[in-house]
Amino acid sequence: MSTFDWGVIVRALPFLWEGMKISLLLTAAGIAGGIVFGTMLAVLRLSAVRPLAALAGLYVNTFRSLPLILVLFWFYFLMPLAVGRPIGALPSAVTAFILFEAAYFCEIIRAGIASVPRGQVLAAKATGMTSLQVLRLVILPQAFRAMAPVMLTQSIVMFQDTSLVYVITLRDFMTAASVVANRDGRVIELYCFAAVVYFAICFTASLAVGAKSRRTA
């Protein structure tokens, strides 16, 4: 066993930071797009129009039984076909993350909507609001507040999952670490460093989520 050389990490830091920016970008896109699209799916799943509800249900259940890696492969293959010319790995990864996470956010938001007492809806309707207004002004704000801790936890999971873009050689933090590890022959240092960084970020974030949900509870 050779001795540890932590200098290799210091020298690789700018390169790793470029990777971390991709990881954060994917997470942000997944959260934003996933929540918007997931909310639409949740409303559809609860809609009175049966075929729409069934379609949304099929979407959610299918995506929730697929590995993220398979979804990444799907879009890495589909996107160039759909656009008609080769595009980079980043747009297909972003699309895959949004569509995949939407299925999970949909179920979280659906649970949030179900937690809003029925009387609220009836009262809002009685004051003359339209269905869309009831949804926008009464149901969704309460649903989001109730589900905020779960959505944050899901976001932490998603941040960890961005490491899987390794399979389509998109250079996120994990892939960058692996590139340096193989280039410099420093597997131990780089993978341990990656583990420590991910742990520090995710553990801090989950502590913050825990503290916040205890305060609001």
Binding site: M1, T62, S65, L66, P67, L68, I69, L70, F73, W74, F77, L78, L81, A82, G84, I156, Q160, D161, S163, L164, Y166, V167, M174, S178, A181, V187, I188, Y191, C192, A194, A195, Y198, F199, C202, F203, S206
Partner: protein, 242 residues
């Protein structure tokens, strides 16, 4: 969009065989990982609820450690880093002499990861058992170990079967990560078929259908387990007539 469909490719050799072999690896890895995860996770869940402060601290640290590091990183640590850190003889054995190193690494890695999640379910199951049960068990002369084995765990497991089902489903999905160390499970095989034939639609659709089918079978099987255990076990939902 310009695409030549050819669904028959899926039923030609060698591609049909690749899909089947991939499915077999996915199922095998999932079953082994779930077994390890269930055993270890039970131990972790119990550790988090016993009176000993040290055991609770260890259980908590285990869960946080394995839950906050991505599975891919964990897998690379097990596969690339561990053989370098152990004594040289063991490292050589891990790298050279162990047959199917990808498989053993995969089930150990996924098993330890699953244990952190299953441990949390077991803990919440134990905490959901009414406190009087433990007091009554201890008062009737059972030791703490007996109380866990005969009273708390049997009730806790019945309570947590539904969340446990979704943990198992999540391990099926997560198992695809092992393709990164060269184990050709279902996702890897569908990718390989795409590379060979350029029929991406067909190969990924086949993998999609198979994953959905596996998830349905697993859900159905866990439903059977739930009903079987509910019948002869703990008094629940009106099955008890005074």
């Amino acid at each position: 969009m310009n695409y030549r469909w050819n669904w028959s490719i899926l039923f030609q050799e060698p591609y049909f065989g690749w899909l089947l072999s991939g499915l077999r690896w996915t199922v095998l890895v999932t079953l082994c990982a779930c077994s390890i995860g269930l055993l270890l996770g039970t131990a972790i869940g119990v550790a988090r609820t016993v009176p000993s402060r040290a055991a609770r601290g260890f259980g908590g640290a285990y869960v946080e450690l394995f839950r906050n590091v991505p599975v891919l990183v964990q897998l690379f640590l097990w596969f690339y880093v561990l053989p370098e850190l152990v004594p040289e003889g063991w490292g050589r054995w891990l790298k050279r002499d162990l047959p199917l190193p990808e498989f053993w690494t995969s089930i150990v890695c996924l098993g330890f990861y699953a244990a952190s999640r299953i441990g949390e379910q077991v803990r919440s199951g134990i905490e959901a058992v009414p406190r009087g049960q433990l007091s009554a068990a201890l008062a009737s002369g059972l030791t703490l170990a007996q109380a866990y084995r005969l009273v708390l765990l049997p009730i806790a497991f019945r309570i947590i079967i539904p969340p446990l089902t979704s943990e198992f489903l999540s391990i099926i999905r997560t198992s695809s990560v092992v393709l990164t160390i060269g184990l050709l499970e279902l996702t890897a095989q569908s990718r390989q078929i795409e590379n060979h034939t350029f029929q991406g639609f067909e190969s990924f659709a086949a993998a999609t259908a198979l994953y959905v089918a596996v998830a349905l079978v697993a859900t159905f099987a866990m439903g059977l387990v739930e009903r079987r255990m509910a019948n002869r076990g703990f008094v629940a939902r009106g099955s008890f007539a005074p």
